[in-house]
Amino acid sequence: MSVRYIPVQWNRFKWGYDAALLASVGVFLWAFLRVTPEDLGHERDVSGAIRNARAFGACAFVMLTGILCIGPLARLDTRFLPLLYNRRHFGVVTAAVALTHFSFVLDWYFAFSPAGKYEALLFANTSFTNGVAGFPFEAFGIFALLSLLILAATSHDFWMKFLTPPVWKGLHYLIYPAYAAVVAHVAWGALLDQENTTFAWVVHVGALLVVGLHLGAALSGRDAAKPRTAGWVDAGDPATIPEGRARIVTLASGDRVAVFRHEGALSAISNACAHQNGPLGEGRIIDCLVTCPWHGFQYDVRTGRSPAPFTEKVPTYALRLEGGRLLVSPDADPPGTPQRPVPVHRGRTT
């Protein structure tokens, strides 16, 4: 068995990914800024700083919408997995674009006054209680920007090790309130401000796409209803699990188990990757090792352990066959506990 196991590091694909990402951001900004007042029949152009703030703001919104679509897209169709692989860089670039938008706004709307810019940001618009329509949209933007900066700053694997994967993953769910805040920021700001409704359409379609794809992915992931009793869980006919692939089973506790078939025998490990909770059951067995679809961390399916020299471990589960049905133990064994693989014998009771 080879140990072809390299964690998320620079490689050719990542360079290509980042190049395509930065080129797309460049093209977006260039295309936005090259529209002249003559093109639109306006006598004068929008002030430079406002035009730049709008370009970077629109770009950040589109990028964030894109990032949030990648996860469910990759679940619905594995051909989108290459987009997911380097999603963190996408996030960091988005935070940088959002920060640039903020700088243009701060150095224009909040500058040139006797008060400091940051101070002015806090007191210039405080109409929090004067009805919904005039709510200071800046507050939503500040929340979203701080969230994006926290996520970008903690995106490196160092922080995941330091904070532990569950805490890190929990922290990174902040992306959802951040996106909601971005939509609110745009809705209460740019959309209320503009008479032209084109951008409103873009924002609505983007937000609906994010919601729709997440719902679609959630529905398609409901492979097995959560059992009501806490006993061994029926995982169906074992013969229908293809070689090298898994079936995902949901336990009464809500935990998900990936039951893999490897060389004609079945083994079960937790569905959550020790790296970033990637869905191991959507991965494949490559070189005798379960390979996570997100960043390619690998585990021995019989022990839940990454091959040496790596030390990641995931919980394992006992399996048994009964009346031709495969049953999964409701209790996880500690991460890295070896289990005896259960051979697939159609119709035989063990």
Binding site: R4, V8, Q9, N11, F13, K14, G16, A20, A23, S24, V25, V27, F28, A31, F32, D39, L40, R44, V46, S47, I50, R54, A55, A58, C59, D77, T78, R79, P82, Y85, W108, Y109, A111, F112, S113, P114, A115, A120, A124, N125, S127, N130, G134, P136, F137, G189, A190, D193, Q194, E195, T197, T198, F199, V202, R245, R284, I286, T291, P293, G296
Partner: protein
Amino acid sequence: MSERPFFVGYLGLPRGLRFMTLALAVSLLIGGGLLATVIARAKDDPGPGTFRFDYGRQTVTGIVALTPTPILHVTKGSEHIEAGRTLMLSGQGKNGALLRARALEGRLANASGILLTRGDLDMMQLVCGEAGLGPADGDAPMAPEPEDLGRWELAGEICDGKCAAGAMRPGTGIAHKACASLCILNGLPPVFISTRPIEGETFLLIAGTPEDPMPPELYDWVAEYVALKGQIVRHGDLLVLDIDTATLERTP
């Protein structure tokens, strides 16, 4: 289950995914450019207001009046400012000219700076110190007698006169609310942009008290589309609006 190619980053792109990934990258590039163009082309016209740097620095003489925002009734004009016009006065950036103007109230003064114009709104951004606003020789003639135009019902937007005049484009609207409030707090003229002309004027200067250049209750309504009632008084060719704050309401 379909046998779709399975991507593992460090193993490189499987053959079956190369075309799709390339197509995704290209559509991201082209789609991004197209989307940006569509969004950028959807911007509203920011209006014709602007700094008239093309006129160069203008120097005029006139009588200073306070509403309490400083205004100047021009008695001796310049190349681009005729005598008889009334200018709102501002300092540099988001700074008013109130401190300089107080000492000169009712007196003849020289004002020098850059003109900002938007429709019937005229403002002068004064250069710093006495070179911008200082006493002029001679006795002040009579300032135009304020003419009471009665109580009016208006709809429109409260904003600061400098950004609205073209210091920022757009210098109105909800996205500009914080900036407008900051400008007014710093002594720039608060103005009301009426949706319909009043006696031929669309921009009205909002009256305040010596303590508050704009009634504090109005800050929450800045940059919103509002309806209100108020007393209008003509000062030269400028209309000054004294808002009855109890009548303010948001309009759809």
